[in-house]
């Protein structure tokens, strides 16, 4: 059959129930243990990767599952971060934090709604959607640099009120420092992952996969694919904005968060980790993040070159990414172990 009918990168591999449970317990144990065993610097670094993983997860939903290529997905992350930070500059305490969170999630969502309405409903091809997101990312990054009074320009935004959550009068938790942001990140990632799983396992998830495969066929069946894509865009951009809001507790809010290079990095994380797998992009983010931390000291100047080359090579020669490869190896190992026990 022609290449169109068989997206060769898609590998359907399943872990059994028991190994999945085991993996989950191991992860939870590691997650709980990290703050006690690692240095504050390492914990902050890990928190940053966890927040980036949420962004990667949202990109996987949009691109890996929905087939929508966006070259500016990070701008929703950046918008969330800026919305959160700017609101906290003018409003403090628990109320201020909830307002900031609402805007951090809401502003990207509204932009996504507008984009979807104008682009998906005019039946513009996927390429143009990519171009428009590219143009917007460039524009937003430039706007953030230029409008210093509002955004702090290249110096970034800092000195805003500490995000505080809880119930007024009863309990109050400052999401700042080393440990609290870490746990906030872990909980945020867990919630977003569960949300993503729910979406992908529902009929809505089936529909977005169908759109990725053959959108015209789904439309001919009677589905309003523009609506489905728009809703997907809103959900994933809101998730990206949520990640951006979390980021303000561990990172530096600067114009790069909105820009095109950061968006490209997200594509690389998802591409390397394994698109359309949910867990893969999380893996890819952490892996590439660690690689970058180790290598960037010596290779800071040519790191973007590596990113570009990686990306090119992955798209050309290894579209399925890391995660399916790991799954297959695990399955093969289990089968060999199983047959060894039976004595075959």
């Amino acid at each position: 059959m022609t290449g169109k009918m068989t997206p060769g990168w898609l590998v359907r591999v399943r872990l059994s129930r028991s190994s999945r449970l085991l993996l989950l317990l191991a992860l939870a144990a590691c997650a709980a243990a990290i703050p006690s065993v690692a240095s504050p610097y390492a914990v902050s670094l890990t928190t940053r990767f966890i927040v980036f993983s949420i962004l990667a997860l949202s990109m996987d939903l949009l691109w890996g599952y929905g087939g929508v290529v966006s070259f500016g997905h990070a701008m929703f992350f950046g918008l969330g971060a800026y919305a959160m930070a700017i609101t906290l500059t003018h409003a403090a305490g628990i109320g201020g934090t909830y307002l900031a969170l609402a805007l951090g999630v809401g502003v990207p969502a509204v932009l996504a709604l507008a984009l979807g309405f104008f682009l998906f409903y005019s039946a513009v091809s996927g390429v143009y959607f990519g171009i428009v997101t590219l143009a917007l990312a460039v524009a937003f990054e430039t706007l953030a640099v230029v409008n210093r009074s509002f955004t702090g320009g290249m110096d970034g935004l800092y000195g805003f009120a500490i995000p505080t959550i809880g119930l007024p009068g009863l309990v109050q938790v400052e999401v700042w420092g080393t440990e609290n942001p870490y746990f906030a990140g872990v909980i945020g990632l867990a919630v977003c992952y569960l949300l993503a799983r729910w979406i992908t396992h529902s009929s809505f998830g089936t529909a977005i996969k169908a759109i990725r495969d053959e959108e015209p066929r789904l439309e001919l069946l009677g589905y309003d694919t523009a609506l489905i894509k728009t809703i997907l865009l809103v959900i994933t951009c809101a998730m990206a904005g949520f990640a951006g809001s979390l980021y303000t507790t561990v990172g530096f809010v600067s114009p790069q968060l909105l820009g095109v290079f950061f968006s490209t990095q997200v594509l690389v994380w998802v591409g390397i980790g394994g698109r359309g797998t949910l867990a893969g992009p999380i893996l890819g983010t952490i892996l590439v993040g660690f690689l970058q931390t180790i290598l960037s000291g010596e290779f800071e100047d040519i790191w973007p070159l590596f990113v570009g080359m990686f990306f090119l090579l992955i798209v050309l020669f290894w579209p399925s990414g890391l995660y399916p490869f790991i799954q297959r190896s695990l399955n093969a190992a289990r089968r060999r172990l199983g047959s060894a026990q039976v004595g075959a």
Binding site: T2, G3, K4, P7, G67, V69, F71, F118, L119, Y121, S122, A123, V124, G126, V127, Y128, G130, I131, V132, L134, A135, L136, V138, A139, T142, L143, V146, V260, T264, L267, G271, D301, I302, P304, L305, V307, G308, M309, F310, F311, L312, V315, L316, P319
Partner: protein
């Protein structure tokens, strides 16, 4: 009154450059459906070819003539190594050429540094036109754009190759069935589009600063030209007029980046109102 004429002439200059940058893309992407996000890099490489030419002491007009060949050859190489592999995966072509664009930009950055470069113009001085003294070089750019566009259209509509090209555009399978070498058509058209974009870069080099990232905004603009212009060979002219015209008019009275965003908004709205583009016919398939 003088300022207005100056503005109009500046608009025409911008439209001319946009036309040169986008004309190849109109055919390769607008009509043949070949996706290439590294198109802006052809433009950028054209400018840097002039820089190299200056550094090795070549006369400028020699460099100007050589640039399309150099960049065109690079374009053919790109088509042969990367794009050809991904014809069945259009969205992956989008990603792969984006990766390529990043690689090319970084290589240029490493080789030439981030420092802004400049170059000398082919000639200087002003010419009195419509009552103002306007830089002769910019008039040269406009003339060149008209000349190249005309030559291009003659090539597409009058040459033997043009017949094959139009056959492939109309129905690729049928063209292949009657013996057209579609691979060669794709590669040649792609290389010519790259060459013209490279020429645009070389021609604009004296006008402003040259840096590795200069291709990005032209990439965006040329895609907007193609989509607003519509799926016809003449789409480049309409699109360049629309995008170039609005951009230069707006940039006169506001921050350049705000002007860019507004142009983007105009393009999106125009597309919603007329999905087939300004020059397009029928409904967008």
């Amino acid at each position: 009154m003088d300022t207005a004429i100056f503005q109009i002439l500046n608009s025409l200059t911008l439209i001319s450059i946009l036309l040169l940058v986008s004309i190849g893309l109109t055919i390769t992407f607008g009509l043949l459906g070949i996706i290439n996000l590294a198109h802006g890099e052809f433009f950028m490489l054209g400018a840097y070819t002039v820089v190299i030419g200056g550094e090795i002491g070549l006369p400028i007009f020699v460099t100007l003539i050589a640039t399309p060949f150099v960049v065109g050859a690079f374009g053919a190489l790109v088509e042969q190594t990367i794009i050809k592999r991904l014809y069945t995966r259009p969205l992956d072509t989008l990603l792969a050429t984006w990766g390529l664009s990043l690689v090319v930009r970084q290589v240029v950055l490493i080789v030439f540094g981030a420092r802004q470069r400049g170059s000398d113009a082919l000639f200087s001085g002003t010419v009195p036109i419509l009552g103002v003294d306007y830089p002769a070089y910019r008039l040269f750019i406009m003339a060149m754009a008209v000349a190249v566009a005309t030559a291009f259209f003659v090539w597409v509509y009058r040459s033997d190759f043009g017949v094959k090209l139009r056959a492939v555009i109309f129905n690729r399978d049928m063209a292949r069935a009657i013996g057209v070498n579609t691979r060669r058509v794709d590669r040649t058209t792609f290389a010519v589009g790259a060459a013209i974009a490279g020429l645009a870069g070389a021609v604009i080099a004296p006008l402003g600063t040259i840096n590795p990232n200069m291709g990005l905004s032209w990439l965006i603009d040329s895609f907007l030209v193609v989509i607003v212009g519509g799926q016809a060979a003449s789409g480049a002219v309409f699109g360049a007029a629309f995008i170039g015209g609005s951009e230069s008019t707006l940039a006169f009275s506001m921050q350049p980046v705000v002007a860019s965003v507004l142009v983007l908004v105009f393009a999106i709205v125009a597309l919603r109102l007329r999905p087939q583009g300004l020059a397009g016919t029928g409904s967008r398939s």
